[in-house]
């Protein structure tokens, strides 16, 4: 029997074929075929010249280091938060979440202002005759990655630790396993699956980040930077080469994804929590060290944001900050860029509505109507998760600039539509996950009860299913919203003057050295993020945040 949901299935399949499979296939074609036919020339070029292939190694080095540090810091703080009472816990939590929510490159540019060649901290220590470490290159990138990504680990691992049953810890204590030994003998093994999945998420983010290495890397070029430069570089005809590099990037992320999945499946654990962990009061040295550690980390991670806010009120003269404070930067930001601020609301908003709607539909199809076609939708919908934003940008541009297969149909290059759809496709995997989680908590029988009372399928979906999923949907939507307003790596390739958003404007202002305006725009963006988080805190619980 053909029903509403079969129609939805077809629509969703169509959506993914046009806006995901076709662009990627097109990218593959560009990478492998020139006018003279099949060629591996681009791949040879990449691997034969260390100028190109070294970016691979570079990307791996900074992503691995960033992941390891984020993992250590995030897990430790999650452990402390789970086990002990900490002064100002709730506020700290908000700050930690906030630290992860801004665009990474904003952190990078703030660190340049702080620790760069003419940075405030650099100069302060130079006056004392102390030389601060070189921020450009590996150190800077890893610093930004770590501070940006440990909150994700903290949130995911913390959520998982919360599910540990208190009696497990008591049983361990009974057998003489206490203190730090208990941490790595009992608690860590129980959260291994989450450690793995959160590490993957963090690693993928680091690997795909374009803004940070672009700004702070200087000579240290990573993969996404190379892809971007090769694509927008002055020398023409590099689209094919950029495509080839993109394909290599996707292959690598896919392999990492599959390995993680394989390990995670073998380590899967189900926990039944009857009694949650009771929070203890820390004592003595532990209390002091723990507080010092947490406050230091949180302070360092929000320092960039705070400093940018500070600079936004400083007077500027050309490219340098001068004495005195004013709202000049804001005046200039608003006078020339009100369109940009409007774009930053408009484009993500439309994208958000679509993401949530499609996400809920796909979640419903995969959970409630599981069959071969919905199963494949489930798999395909996860593909954007492993495609770096820059690659997605290039794929979209090449696929739709002259319409599908250069036919002029769907020639949406340079339009708002392409920006919206790119955001939707990229954010869908997360939206689907949060909807699936919400849906899985609703017993099938609730919907069956509605059917038995004479309610049609559509009516049941709208009156029963959606309202019950709502808390989960809203939490997911707000997170999507925050991610979308700070998105850079795809938008930077797809934007035009008319569709420029704040992150792009901040990026270009930073590149041009207009730190005052960049600061003002960043501050507005941060306020928008804080506001969204506060709303999330009101309607949902930040505990529910899943990445």
């Amino acid at each position: 029997m053909f029903d509403l949901w079969d129609a939805q299935t077809i629509l969703v399949v169509l959506l993914y074929v046009v806006f995901l499979i076709y662009p990627i296939a097109n990218l593959l074609k560009l990478a492998l075929f020139t006018e003279s036919g099949f060629t591996l020339e681009y791949f040879q070029k990449f691997f034969s010249q260390s100028y190109y292939s070294a970016t691979l190694k570079n990307s791996f080095v900074v992503s691995t280091l960033g992941t390891v540090f984020a993992l250590i810091i995030g897990t430790l703080i999650a452990y402390f938060f789970t086990m002990y009472s900490i002064a100002g816990k709730k506020t700290l939590r908000i700050f930690i979440i906030l630290a992860s929510m801004s665009a990474p490159f904003i952190g990078a540019y703030s660190w340049i202002l702080l620790l760069g060649r003419n940075g405030v901290i650099t100069n302060f220590f130079a006056d004392l005759g102390i030389q601060t470490p070189e921020i450009y290159g590996v150190f800077g990138i890893v610093l930004v990655f770590t501070l940006q990504l440990y909150p994700l680990i903290f949130l995911m691992v913390g959520g998982s630790m919360k599910k540990i049953d208190m009696s497990l810890l008591e049983a361990a204590e009974n057998m003489g396993v206490t203190g730090f030994k208990r941490f790595y003998k009992v608690i860590l093994p129980l959260v291994v699956p989450t450690l793995l999945s959160s590490s993957l998420l963090v690693f993928m983010r680091a690997l795909a980040d374009f803004g940070t290495p672009m700004l702070i890397g200087e000579g240290y070029r990573t993969f996404p930077v190379l892809i971007f430069n090769e694509f927008v570089g002055e020398v023409g005809g590099s689209a094919g080469f950029a495509s080839a590099i993109s394909i290599i990037a996707v292959i690598i992320t896919t392999i990492i994804f599959l390995i993680q999945k394989y390990i995670a499946n073998r380590k899967a654990i189900t926990m039944h929590t009857l009694r949650p962990i009771e929070i203890q009061k820390p004592k003595g040295v532990l209390k002091v060290v723990m507080h010092l550690f947490i406050y230091f980390v949180v302070l360092v991670s929000i320092l960039p944001q705070v400093y940018i806010m500070y600079t936004s009120f400083k007077n500027t003269s050309g490219m340098v900050f001068v004495e005195g404070y004013s709202l000049d930067s804001y005046r200039r930001a608003f006078s020339g860029m009100s369109d940009i601020i409007w774009n930053t609301i408009r484009i993500p908003f439309v994208a958000l509505i679509l993401t949530v709607a499609v996400g809920v539909i796909i979640a419903y199809l995969t959970v409630r109507r599981s069959n071969v076609s919905t199963g494949s939708i489930d798999i395909v919908s996860m593909i954007p998760y492993i495609i770096p934003g820059t690659v997605m940008g290039i794929a979209f541009l090449m696929a739709f600039n002259n319409g599908i297969a250069d036919s002029g149909i769907l020639a949406i290059g340079g339009t708002t539509t392409i920006m919206v759809i790119a955001l939707v496709i990229r954010r869908l995997p997360y939206s689907i996950r949060s909807s699936v989680n919400a849906l899985q908590q609703i017993p099938m029988s609730t919907e069956e009860a509605a059917y038995s009372l004479g309610s049609s399928k559509l009516n049941t979906f709208i009156r029963i299913t959606i309202p019950m999923m709502l808390p989960g949907i809203i939490a997911g939507a707000i997170l999507s919203w925050i991610t979308m307003i700070s998105e850079l790596s795809t938008a930077i390739l797809l934007y035009t003057v008319r569709t420029q958003t704040m992150t792009i404007a901040i990026y270009t202002q930073v590149i041009r050295g207009n730190y005052g305006v960049a600061g003002a725009l960043s501050t507005i963006l941060t306020l928008l993020t804080v506001l969204s988080l506060l709303i999330l805190n009101k309607v949902g619980r930040t505990e529910d945040i899943t990445m």
Partner: protein, 358 residues
Amino acid sequence: MSEIIINDAVKRFGSITVIKDLSLRVKDGQLFTLLGPSGCGKTTLLRMIAGFNTIEGGEFYFNETFINNMDPSKRNIGMVFQNYAIFPHLTVRENVAFGLKQRKMDKETITSKVDHFLKLMQIYDYADRKPDKLSGGQQQRVALARALVIEPDVLLMDEPLSNLDAKLRVEMREAIREIQHKVGITTVYVTHDQEEAMAISDEIAVMKDGIIQHLGKPREIYHRPQNVFVASFIGRTNLLEGELVHENGVAKVNLNCGYSFLYPRLNDEKDQKIQVSIRPEDFLPGEADGMKAKIVHSVYLGLNTEYYCVLEDGTEIQMVEESNLNDTFEDGHETILGVKINKINVFTLDGSSNLSIR
């Protein structure tokens, strides 16, 4: 009000046949119970009646209406689920009114009907509460009110009491029985709890492996079970092997433990090996004529005491006696166990049919 008629129902999940050629008829106004161990197909059958499971074969009717391909929302059924399936975002009143709203009734009719059932189920005082503020028993009452208010042709209940504690379970089953009588609605009730089934049913179908093993009134099922499975699933029983012989045309049972007795009920059956089912309460200890038994171990349960005994041939049996202040039998005590011959059942050796049913 409806009669439910099922002819040759077949249910397959993939290549596994869960129900094969099952036929039954639930009479109008009857409370009919599907009873069986988990995995016997009882819930599957119920969900086929409800329309939540596809039907691979056979015919389902409500009176003359063929319902095989009818959408669940069109069948006019009331269903009560194991987990209540109350809509958590709606108040008690909104939950109960949900089905009436689907039927596009006017507001006043809805209010008066809802009020009537809220009062009937004694939950009127909670009408404006959200379900999470209610106890399990109250939630179950909401579920029942919600199912009944739409005046369904058939009421389906899927283990409705299994999430309640023992005391409330007894209370609720009385309430269900009473309401069902009052409303007079044809009801199919699924449970794995035999005592519950006995207490509320007009008729019971005992199921195993997708087949109805015995369909009958509660008394028949307990006292004259169709086969050995039913005898041991309903209540407890001791199965002793033996032989049926005839002496001068009178049937006689020779048990392997050495005890023999006349059993004229089977005069017309031919000589054969048999299984004899004797329930624990049907022994008479201390009789002159019976089987020799040694008490191994006893469990004091208040009202009764259970004795675990060994017969001469090594067979272990259970016996139940009313308790006294002083234990009648010490462990190791030897006695002769008489048997209430009129209450035993004699089965064929393979246990598939009850020879005592005539």
